[in-house]
């Protein structure tokens, strides 16, 4: 690749940054949705009554089994069929967020199950109800144990946000294709630039999670697994 391609790409960087901002918005939306729903799903799977547990299992099975792009179509086109014309952005957050919740539920479920039964017993013996025991004793430990797996999920869903273009969300890959459409010769430099942007985002995200991990670290908790 020659140097001129790189000088040509410089003016397009702001456009690409505007695009990746949309990816970041998607990411924040979908990962918080996934976190909330994922934790609840995992709790239901591990501690809920049988039938609810089965329902949660079926839920994760569905969202893990269906390809992302199909989920995007289902939510974008499907919901409008039922008279709920959600925006493409919202449909993307919903589809990718619920999908991520299924994966996050797996992570949390594993963490919950790795907490020794004695912790729950000791909490109940103190007079804590089931919900309080989970809130004050089980979850704080499980969430810490989940951080490592969670940082994988973070990197993975960050990349998934590029799929949102499939239903028309103009994110960074789409911005890239705008530039490419009017300047074929920039195809490769643009992809490389986008790749760099994602690498930086992944790095920053993982550093942030690493910091959180260090801040929340409790002696003896991580080593137990």
């Amino acid at each position: 690749m020659n140097l001129s391609a790189w000088t040509e790409i410089a003016p397009h960087i702001p456009v690409l940054l505007r695009g990746i901002l949309v990816n970041i918005e998607l990411l924040l939306g979908l990962i918080s949705l996934g976190l909330g729903v994922g934790v609840v799903t995992a709790l239901v799977e591990v501690y809920g009554p049988r039938p609810l547990g089965w329902a949660a299992g079926a839920y994760t099975w569905f969202f893990r089994g269906v390809p992302e792009i199909v989920l995007l179509f289902l939510f974008y086109f499907g919901l409008s069929q039922f008279g709920v014309p959600v925006s493409a952005f919202f449909a993307a957050v919903l589809a990718l967020g619920l999908r991520s919740s299924a994966y996050q539920a797996q992570i949390f479920r594993g963490a919950l199950q790795s907490i020794p039964h004695g912790q729950m017993m000791a909490a109940r013996a103190l007079g804590l109800g089931r919900v309080k025991a989970i809130a004050y004793v089980i979850l704080p430990q499980a969430l810490r144990l989940s951080l490592a797996g969670w940082s994988n999920e973070f990197s993975s869903v960050l990349k998934d946000t590029t799929l949102a273009w499939g239903i028309g969300v103009v994110e960074v890959m789409r911005q890239a294709s705008y530039i490419r459409a009017r300047n074929f010769t920039l195809t490769l430099p643009i992809y490389i630039t986008v790749a760099l942007m994602f690498l930086v985002l992944t790095y920053v995200g993982n550093v942030a999670i690493g910091l959180a991990e260090r801040r929340l670290r409790v002696p003896g908790l991580e080593g137990r697994r």
Partner: protein, 281 residues
């Protein structure tokens, strides 16, 4: 940029003022296929299809909102009621006509076979056993290779986008790329001296605008009448002259300068004349 912004703002305000009286249609287009539709360096939607739709809207008294949508999703979106008009260089095919309704053809587009410059390949050598041909998935180029040439021993490689196919051609991984003539000419212009058009295949391919099956909103008659009016005044041919030939950067500059005539003064003919005048060397 500032001027365009102001002009667009005025246009939006004006449009808002008459909104109550006029129906509004959502136009879906995969806006990355110059010169039919693309996004300018400054982020504006332009191109032949889009300006034609804007001009028709003005002539026929409706409003449009242009929404960028992946090509493969446009027909599903129109079926699902998430858009009203597909204006994205759609080839009229029997399969598509089963699920949507097409306007009269507005464009004849044949397929160009692009090869590496100096490869010495002609159509006969290209369509022979062992050759590997590339095309964008879901386009006529890809259907043509599949239906006509694969039985003759050619291998088809499909790409998500046309530029990717060209990159693979340059890398020597495929022997030729089949794509509509106009985008192909543009690619040849950009990769000057590296690729060339070896042959043009008359597929009899025609483009049409499309709407929901059976045209429940009665949009097609408005499109037909708008196209007829553009052709009658000569604006149609001027638009063709402006969009097919000049470099994209030059078109963008002319468009920025002239677009208020279309959007604010709402005069398609003078707009087309302005474009052509701006693009004269």
């Amino acid at each position: 940029m500032k001027n365009v912004g102001v002009a667009l703002l005025i246009a939006v305000l004006l449009a808002g003022g008459v909104a109550a009286a006029q129906p509004k249609y959502v136009v879906l287009s995969d806006i990355a296929w110059a010169p039919f539709e693309w996004v300018s360096e400054k982020g504006a939607y332009l191109g032949f299809d889009l300006d034609v739709m804007r001009a028709i809207a003005i002539l026929e008294g409706f409003e449009i909102e242009i929404r960028d949508t992946p090509f493969d999703s446009i027909i599903p979106a129109i079926i699902a009621g998430r858009g009203d008009i597909g204006a994205s260089g759609f080839t009229i095919t029997d399969e598509r006509a089963l699920v949507v309704s097409f306007s009269e053809a507005y464009w004849n587009s044949n397929q160009a076979v692009v090869v590496r410059a100096g490869s010495g390949l002609d159509l006969e050598k290209i369509v022979s056993p062992g050759r590997i041909l590339g095309a964008q998935r879901g386009t006529t180029g890809s259907f043509w290779i599949e239906d006509e040439w694969v039985p003759l021993g050619v291998t088809l490689v499909e790409y998500e986008t046309y530029p990717e196919a060209i990159l693979d051609l340059l890398a020597g991984r495929i022997d030729a790329v089949v794509q509509d003539v106009d985008p192909s000419k543009m690619a040849v212009l950009q990769y000057k001296g590296q690729i060339e058009i070896a042959a043009i295949v008359d597929t009899g391919e025609q483009f049409g605008f499309l709407v929901a099956k059976g045209d429940p909103k009665g949009i097609l008659p408005k499109i037909e009448s708008g196209v007829a009016e553009l052709k009658r005044t000569g604006a149609w041919d001027l638009l063709i002259e402006a969009y097919f030939g000049p470099a994209l950067g030059a078109i963008e500059a002319a468009w920025e300068k002239c677009i208020p005539i279309l959007l604010v003064e709402r005069d398609p003919l003078r707009y087309a004349q302005c474009l052509v005048a701006e693009l004269k060397p």
